[in-house]
């Protein structure tokens, strides 16, 4: 028996359940430190209420039904705006990736519009639409349009030309070539666009709801500020974080589902 055998093993076998919890260690630790700081009076509650106070405020709003209504309104705006903007962006990405004529016609224009920060349009959008639903939907749609458009276009343009040649040699029709070669080849890039777009979607919605809205999470936060309800303000921010995480997880799940062929998504 050698010395090495008698030493304790450094790499203990991992428990699969524990593995899934690792990402939550840091957020939980932060909440714990935050609670301690508030309870000990290190941070005055006028600056930052304790997590328990925030949870309590959340519970009250939940009971009154206000929380669910506001989350639902924000979620609805986010998804409809995303579907409209993402849909148009995807359509333009496909058209410009597949047709030279379409690309020549529209790409320059789109690139110019892209360089306008879409949030700079808020005053104009308020003048056009008031603080109506359409204003928020317009801003979200505009925000998610570009990441989806650019990444779809890039994905289609970078599909391996050797595979396209192979598809043609083996007698694929244009439709088959798109379905079996071009679209699956562009998919990883489209997903990058999707995740960028989800981030922009929440960002746009927060800003739009904070400035011009009469419902939604951003509105709830602004109302709370008026009445110095700092716990509700913090609650809204935390909910935004959770919703953002939820959207990201959903897109990751979709990625794992559709990109299972990709070496990066294959489980060992």
């Amino acid at each position: 028996m050698s010395l090495i055998d008698s030493l304790p093993r450094v790499s203990a076998p991992k428990l699969p359940k524990v593995d899934g919890l690792i990402p939550w260690i840091v957020p939980l630790a932060i909440i714990l430190v935050w609670q301690l700081a508030c309870v000990t009076g290190f941070v005055p509650s006028r600056v930052l209420p304790a997590p328990t106070d925030v949870a309590l405020a959340g519970w009250k709003l939940l009971l009154s039904g206000e929380l669910v209504r506001n989350i639902w309104v924000s979620f609805w705006r986010a998804s409809i705006g995303f579907l409209i903007g993402g849909g148009i962006g995807f359509a333009f990405g496909l058209a410009n990736g597949l047709s030279q004529l379409s690309a020549k016609l529209t790409d320059t224009t789109l690139q110019m519009v892209r360089n306008i920060p879409h949030l700079a349009l808020i005053p104009l959008v308020i003048l056009w639409f008031g603080i109506d639903e359409s204003a928020k939907l317009f801003l979200v749609a505009l925000g998610v349009f570009f990441p989806i458009y650019l990444n779809t276009l890039h994905g289609i343009r970078t599909v391996d030309p050797q595979l396209i040649e192979m598809g043609r040699i083996y007698g694929m029709t244009d439709g088959e070539l798109f379905r079996r070669v071009i679209f699956p080849g562009a998919l990883p890039s489209i997903f990058v666009g999707l995740r960028f777009a989800l981030g922009i979607m929440w960002l746009t919605l927060i800003v739009a709801e904070t400035i011009a809205a009469s419902s939604g999470l951003g509105y709830m936060a602004m109302q709370a500020r008026e009445f110095m309800l700092i716990d509700v303000v913090v609650l809204s921010i935390l909910i935004y974080a959770l919703l953002g995480k939820l959207a990201d997880s959903a897109s990751r799940a979709l990625e794992r589902l559709t990109l299972s062929w990709h070496p990066a998504f294959q489980k060992k």
């Binding site: 050797q162 595979l163 040649e165 598809g167 083996y170 007698g171 299972s260 062929w261 070496p263 294959q266």
Partner: protein, 281 residues
């Protein structure tokens, strides 16, 4: 045959699957091998890319079912010739006539890269090779049979990314074979493989060629490979056929035998001389 037995013992519908394969086997044996190949005649073939004339008048007849290797220095036009034969490019002048009008699936190409769809399982990748017949009822059975033929019957549900380079190239071969082509054009298909894999792939190519009787046209930069596999070696220089060597040795040929080495040396000598002086062409 081993594969057929394996299917009988595994599989949810073992009997049907084995029957399919046996049936395909019968169909294949039934067709006369010599009739499988397709002769082709090339006259005055020229190809230019802008000012650069790559092929300067090729005249060539290849009988049905012959194994022809095309060798030459890089840039001599051998791959261009192959692409023209396979119908991937259009000639500038001259033409290629086949013994009879080929259908699209009668001529297949295998490239140096496997060109598999990374997002399709191995079996679906082979099914791509069926072309328009992909929708037919026996498509899957034919694809399975082609996979068994190249010795990858057990990899049908794998993603291409988990295969080795040699295995990927074998899947590409199965895809090329599945439509039972009459002419198979190989564009340096073994160029990217390591030495040992190359040798076993060469043996596989020779075996399927002998089994199926298609006409094989192999572009390679490896003269040893050319003389080991081919009935006939064409040396291309400056866009013309500089030499047409018949390799009349019995098969299977033993690698490293004196006759093969002598032929290889002769062709290599010609290739190397050509680089210094081309005035005698």
């Amino acid at each position: 045959m081993q594969e057929v037995l394996r299917f009988q013992s595994a599989g949810a519908e073992p009997v049907q699957r084995a029957d399919f394969i046996a049936e395909a086997e019968l169909l294949r044996r039934g067709s006369d091998n010599a009739a499988r190949g397709l002769s082709l005649t090339i006259r005055g073939l020229r190809k230019s890319f802008g000012d650069n004339e790559v092929l300067r008048g090729i005249d060539l007849h290849i009988p049905a079912g012959q194994f022809v290797a095309i060798v030459g220095r890089s840039g001599c036009g051998k791959s261009t010739l192959l692409r023209l034969i396979a119908g991937l490019d259009k000639p500038t002048a001259g033409g290629i006539a086949f013994g009879e009008q080929p259908r699209a699936q009668d001529i297949r190409v295998m490239f140096q890269e496997p060109r598999l769809l990374p997002w399709a399982r191995v079996l679906s990748n082979v099914e791509v090779g069926l072309g328009r017949e992909r929708a037919s009822a026996d498509a899957q059975a034919r694809a399975e049979h082609a996979l068994v033929e190249v010795g990858l019957g057990d990899k049908r549900e794998q993603w291409p990314s988990v295969l080795s380079g040699g295995q990927k190239q074998r899947v590409a071969l199965a895809r090329a074979l599945v439509s039972q082509p009459r002419v198979l054009a190989f564009d340096e298909p073994l160029g990217a493989l390591d030495a040992l894999t190359r040798i076993s792939m060469q043996q596989l190519l020779e075996r399927v060629w002998r089994d199926q009787g298609f006409g094989a046209i192999l572009v390679t930069h490896d003269v040893a490979e050319a003389v080991a596999l081919a009935d006939r070696v064409l040396v291309i220089e400056d866009g013309r056929i500089a030499e047409d060597v018949t390799i009349d040795l019995p098969r299977p040929r033993r690698r490293g035998s004196a006759e093969l080495a002598a032929l290889e040396g002769e062709i290599l000598k010609h290739l190397l001389e050509g680089s210094d002086d081309t005035s005698d062409l």
